[in-house]
């Protein structure tokens, strides 16, 4: 049981209200008719499965029903940040996480 900060509701909510929706920041090939089968196949089917830092899409399913992004450590389950759709993550590697801890401390 953990809390996620919904960037649209502006407050922490119980995990039960959310659903994870997989890897974030996938970019659809600009020209689907012109791309190779491999490029299209990668977009449709292939996802990373990292041990450590991961950017994911979550949806506030029982709440405002908005999708947003989460930066999470898949090893410790620690949620490092949540941010709105269309914006970029602040934390992009685990060293940033160490830094942000030091700043907080």
């Amino acid at each position: 049981m953990f809390y996620l900060f919904c960037p649209y509701c502006g407050e922490h909510r119980e995990e039960e209200e959310f659903h994870p929706r997989g890897q974030a920041h996938l970019s659809r090939p600009e020209d689907p008719d012109g791309c190779t089968d491999e490029e299209w196949g990668d977009f449709i089917y292939f996802r990373t499965n990292p041990r450590g830092l991961h950017h994911e899409i979550w949806v506030h399913a029982v709440g405002c029903r908005k999708f947003f992004n989460v930066t999470r450590d898949t090893q410790s389950y620690e949620i490092l940040e949540t941010y709105r759709m269309g914006s970029a993550p602040r934390i992009t590697d685990l060293n940033d996480k160490q830094q942000s801890r030091e700043v907080q401390a």
Binding site: E11, R13, V62
Partner: protein, 221 residues
Amino acid sequence: MSEAVNAAVNEPIRVAVMEQLPKANVTARSPLAHSTRVVPGTIQETAGVYLWEEALRTHLAIRGNAGSADFSRGVEAATGLALPDRLQCSQSGDWSLSWIAPDEWLLIGPGKEAYAMELSLRAQLDGHYAVINLSGGQTLLRLAGPKARLVLMKSCPYDMHDRNFPVGKVVTTVLAKSQATVHRIGDEEWALVVRRSFADYVWRWLMDAGKEYDLGPRRPE
């Protein structure tokens, strides 16, 4: 292909809007018509918590861009209510307008006025917006009394403490593994909007959860 899609977007919007209440002499039944019947002689004088349904009200979902002055002016002109801030509710007389999401609000009012209100919203609004009549899809429950908050604390994972849930706040959250839009109307007064298909389940859950506080399935006198 993309040209055809854009052409469709530029066509004038056509929406089928209709009076959803039957004109013939048909008895309206709320989703809780069967369970709210009170057996005479079973009611105690005082209850720690009261539970009742405000049946067959108007429920309209309004969607649009909160940042657009035209949109907020249009909603206010039709409803007399200002668009509420995040997790808040605007109220006036028998109407209330609750924040549901950054681009969605729930308007609740007298049951027979759904069609007229939808028409006046459509007359006032323009551009990219939606008005959806949900009156048949959900219902309004009321919970009141000194122990009402305890019943909600048992039922929701959300923090119901005064410091987190002051009067006036509206939150859509989990209620007994189902979902409800919970509005704190007063110190000891709450309104719950639940789905029609879950109304019976939620009603029975609340009846059971309120048993230890002498729940009375009726309005307080």
